[in-house]
């Protein structure tokens, strides 16, 4: 519905941001080689071709997380989404993709749509995803078998839903942080950054 209307509502903004996360996480998993490339299929989104996983378990997991995220984005109770990549042999955190979400809470009170075109938002999202793809050049190679986890930073008083549990922040000690571009829907602003473990030479 947001594609036909000109304005952005809170619900539409939540959907856009959740969609971005879904595609962004898939591209990160593809670029970093967490899952073999033959398990991904090409898909067109934001006027560019992106990779989506075809593994059913992974799809279910991502769908669960993204749907819950959408609810929390609508309630403006989510502060960050973090994708943590851990090495399975040493149980060390090697990379941390952090997306800070700043929500304009006045949109909750007034239901009037905001004036921002979908195209400009999509262009911003496109540049962020391109930057994620380009980040492969400076990130260190992941040579060992790795797995990923998605962490969500929420308000303290939020009710924890079923199947969700509290966890630690899984911070990398001695990390290098690189800030990537950000995009805003005029209701939600998403800042992206990647932190990776300093490789000792």
């Amino acid at each position: 519905m947001t594609s036909t209307l000109k304005g952005i509502t809170l619900k539409g903004s939540a959907e856009l941001v959740a969609e971005f996360f879904s595609f962004g996480i898939n591209s990160i998993l593809y670029q970093r080689g967490i899952y073999p490339p033959e398990t991904f299929s090409r898909v067109t989104q934001y006027d560019m071709s992106l990779q989506l996983t075809t593994d059913t378990k992974l799809k279910n997991y991502l769908a669960n997380v993204v749907s819950q995220l959408k609810e929390w984005l609508f309630d403006c109770t989510v502060q960050k989404l973090v994708l943590v990549i851990t090495c399975l042999e040493t149980n060390e955190v090697l990379e941390r993709w952090q997306f800070d979400i700043a929500c304009d809470k006045t949109a909750k009170e007034s239901s009037a749509p905001r004036d921002k075109s979908i195209k400009s938002i999509q262009e911003e999202i496109r540049s962020v995803i391109r930057q994620i793809t380009a980040s492969v050049t400076f990130l260190p190679l992941l040579e060992t078998a790795c797995s990923f986890d998605l962490l969500v930073y929420t308000d303290k008083d939020l009710e924890v839903p079923d199947k969700w549990e509290e966890s630690g922040p899984q911070i990398i000690d001695q990390s290098e942080v690189v800030r990537l571009r950000s995009f805003t829907t005029s209701i939600h602003k998403v800042n992206s950054m990647v932190a990776y473990k300093r490789s000792d030479f």
Binding site: Y61, R96, L150, Y153, T154, E166, S175
Partner: protein, 692 residues
């Protein structure tokens, strides 16, 4: 072919014979003439003929060879033809088969085409049917939509009505509840009413009883009071009687006490008189003591005064020595004092004059400073005026320059246009361009003028501000000077305060800077931590799904590791069992892990080989033992000597015919010379002979 060969041979023979006969004929013809001449010529001719015959024979043989070759070629040709015919027949058969197949395939193709046609027909029919169905479906959908809309409307009305019904029911229920509550309340109240009526009756009965009882009580009370009065009177009488009795008993004692008291009275009077006398004496003594103390104090003060006066006297007497003046009498002192006073007066007068001069000077100074300020402000104003004028001049000069440049430019343009006008005919465009250029020029000039106006305003403001600043500075300086002059009057206190205040200010500023730096550092750290993912646990918490890929991967890894460990343990046990030499162990079925290593063929072969080798060894040993035993017994029996090996290189020789059983000869093998044992020199080491 042989026949042909024969025929050719015969043919050649015939030809040869013919040929030979011909030369004879030719020879016979030519004979009579040259026959006499030469037998050599005949031989020569014969040889030549022979050669020619040989050549012919050769050519014929060649022909025969060629014929043979031809026949061979023909044969091969025939064979090839036969083969070709065979191949042709085969290919013809194949062709026939393929033709049949082709026909079959063509038939199939025709059938399939027919089927295709039929299926296309059926497809088209079905498509048409589909279309018809879709149309009907659409119509049905439209009807359904209409019905749905109607249904929705009806549902809505139904829901509205239901809501109304519910509300009405609720109202009814509430009213019924109210009515029920009210009936209950009325019932309760009625019951209470009845209860209270009963209570009222009971109470009224009790009241009546009480009244009767109270009346009786009051009568009784009256009686009791009368009796009590009587009792009290009687008691009083009793008490009076007792008192009188006791008093009567006390009378003699009282008389005794009376006497004692009178005696004491007398004694006390006497003592009282003594006491008064003594008091008077003490008072007199006290006064004396006080007088004495006063006298003592006066004595002490007098002595002190005396000493002071004596000191003063001495000082006055020594004055002359201490001051250095010719003072021997107090008159001289007074004279000196008068002199000093006069000097003092003079000095004071000077002081007054000096202070008045100072004040006048200060006044003049203040006036001068005021004038200075005014003059400085005037000078500044004049400076500013000059600067403004200079800037104006510069601007005007610039304007002039610009104008001249513009004029030159315009002139050049005009000249170029004029020059162009003579050759080309572009007047309207040129005029247009001219006008546009003029418009642009005017706009720029207006813009320039506006900017210059703004500039002047700004500069005036700046000048005014500077004036203000300078006046303020001058005031500040004057204030400082006043403060300094004031501070000179109270130098100590104010400077100290100022210094302390300055120190405090410096310290505070330093602290402020330090705190600012700390703040910046902390903010940077906070930002860094925020980037790294740190959070405030009071406000945020971190959530993740329990069934996430990392935990699943870790579980899988653990399971794999455990499975591998179990496999390793089983393999180790298997190895141990194998190393101990047991048979192939049975499958270890613990935990569902079957380690069923089939014994490899190599191991079985090797085992078999080992067993066979061992068997062979054993047999050889047995055989060798038997044989050697036999040989030794035979040697002993035949030669009569038995050779035993005692230790290395030592041999014992026992004879069959020895006198004693234990007689023997010991030999030792000394291998100094590398030679066989048979040639070695044996030394007799010892000859044991045992005697009984």
């Amino acid at each position: 072919m042989d026949i042909d060969d024969d025929t050719t041979v015969f043919a050649t023979l015939k030809s040869f014979k013919n040929f030979i006969s011909l030369p004879d004929a030719s020879l016979n013809q030519g004979e009579p003439a040259p026959a006499q001449s030469n037998p050599l010529q005949r031989q020569y001719r014969q040889r030549i003929e022979l050669l020619e015959a040989a050549e012919k024979v050769q050519s014929k043989t060649q022909q025969i060879h060629e014929d043979q070759e031809k026949r061979q070629m023909a044969m091969s040709h025939k064979r090839a033809r036969i083969e070709l015919e065979k191949v042709a027949s085969l290919s013809a058969r194949d062709l026939e088969r393929e033709v049949d197949r082709n026909q079959e395939l063509l038939g199939r193709i025709r059938r399939l085409e027919e089927r295709e046609v039929e299926s296309s027909k059926s497809l088209s029919e079905q498509v048409e049917a589909n279309r018809a169905l879709r149309r009907t479906q659409e119509t049905l959908n439209l009807r359904i939509m209409e019905r749905d809309a109607k249904l929705n409307a009806s549902y809505q009305t139904v829901s509205i009505l239901k809501d109304e019904i519910r509300e009405l029911k609720q109202q009814i229920q509430s009213k019924q509840n109210i009515i029920a509550n009210q009936t209950l309340a009325t019932q309760g109240l009625q019951e209470q009413m009845e209860l209270q009526q009963r209570k009222y009756q009971e109470v009224s009965q009790r009241c009546q009883d009480l009244q009767s009882a109270s009346s009786t009580c009051s009568d009784h009370e009256l009686k009791i009071k009368d009796l009590e009065r009587k009792l009290a009177l009687q008691e009083q009488d009793v008490v009076i009687v007792k008192n009188i009795k006791s008093e009567v008993a006390k009378v003699p004692e009282m008389e005794k006490a009376l006497r004692q008291l009178r005696e004491e009275n007398i004694y006390l009077r006497e003592t009282r008189e003594n006491v008064t006398l003594l008091k008077e004496e003490t008072e007199g003594l006290r006064r004396k003591v006080e007088r004495m103390e006063k006298l003592k104090e006066e004595m002490v003060t007098m002595e002190l005064e005396k000493e002071k006066i004596s000191q003063k006297l001495q000082a006055w007497e020594n004055l002359g020595q201490s001051t250095g003046l010719d003072i021997q009498k107090p008159e001289d002192l007074s004279r000196e004092v008068i002199k000093i006073q006069q000097r003092e007066i003079a000095l004071k007068q000077q002081n007054y004059t000096l202070t008045s001069g100072c004040r006048s000077v200060e006044r003049s100074k203040a006036d001068l400073q005021g004038e200075l300020l005014v003059q400085r402000s005037k000078a500044l104003e004049e400076q500013k005026k000059r600067e403004t004028q200079e800037s104006l001049v510069r601007r005007l000069q610039k304007r002039v320059l610009l104008l001249t440049k513009e004029r030159d430019g315009m002139r050049s343009i005009l000249e170029s246009y004029d020059s162009e006008l003579s050759t080309n005919d572009y007047t309207p465009q040129l005029t247009r361009r001219l006008r546009e250029a003029e418009d642009v020029l005017s706009k720029t000039q207006n813009h320039n003028a506006e900017m210059e106006v703004q500039l002047t305003k700004a500069q005036e403001e700046v000048g005014a501000l500077k004036l203000q600043v300078q006046t303020m500075e001058l005031d500040l300086e004057s204030l400082k000077k006043q403060q300094a002059s004031v501070a000179e009057g109270n130098p100590l206190v104010t400077t100290e305060e100022i210094n302390t205040l300055r120190l405090k200010i410096e310290e505070l500023e330093a602290e402020r800077q330090r705190l600012e730096e700390q703040n910046n550092v902390l903010e940077l750290r906070l930002e860094r931590h925020d980037l790294e993912g740190d959070y405030d646990p009071v406000k945020t918490k971190v959530l993740h799904l329990g069934q996430n890929p990392t935990s699943m991967a870790k579980k899988q890894r653990l399971e794999e590791v455990e499975a591998l460990r179990e496999e390793v343990q089983c393999l180790r046990e298997h190895l141990r069992s194998l190393q101990t030499g047991g048979a192939v162990p049975a499958a270890v079925g613990d935990l569902g892990v079957t380690v069923n290593l089939p014994p490899s063929q190599e191991i079985l072969d090797l085992r078999k080989q080992i067993e066979s080798a061992e068997l062979k060894n054993q047999r050889l040993k047995e055989v060798f033992q038997k044989k050697i035993q036999e040989f030794r017994t035979v040697c002993y029996v035949l030669t009569g000597y038995q050779i035993d090996i005692t230790t290395q290189n030592q041999y014992r020789l026992t004879s069959l015919y020895a006198e004693h059983m234990d007689d023997s000869l010991l030999f030792k093998h000394m291998s100094r010379v590398p030679s066989s044992i048979t040639h070695a020199r044996t030394h007799v080491v010892s000859c044991n002979q045992y005697h009984n």
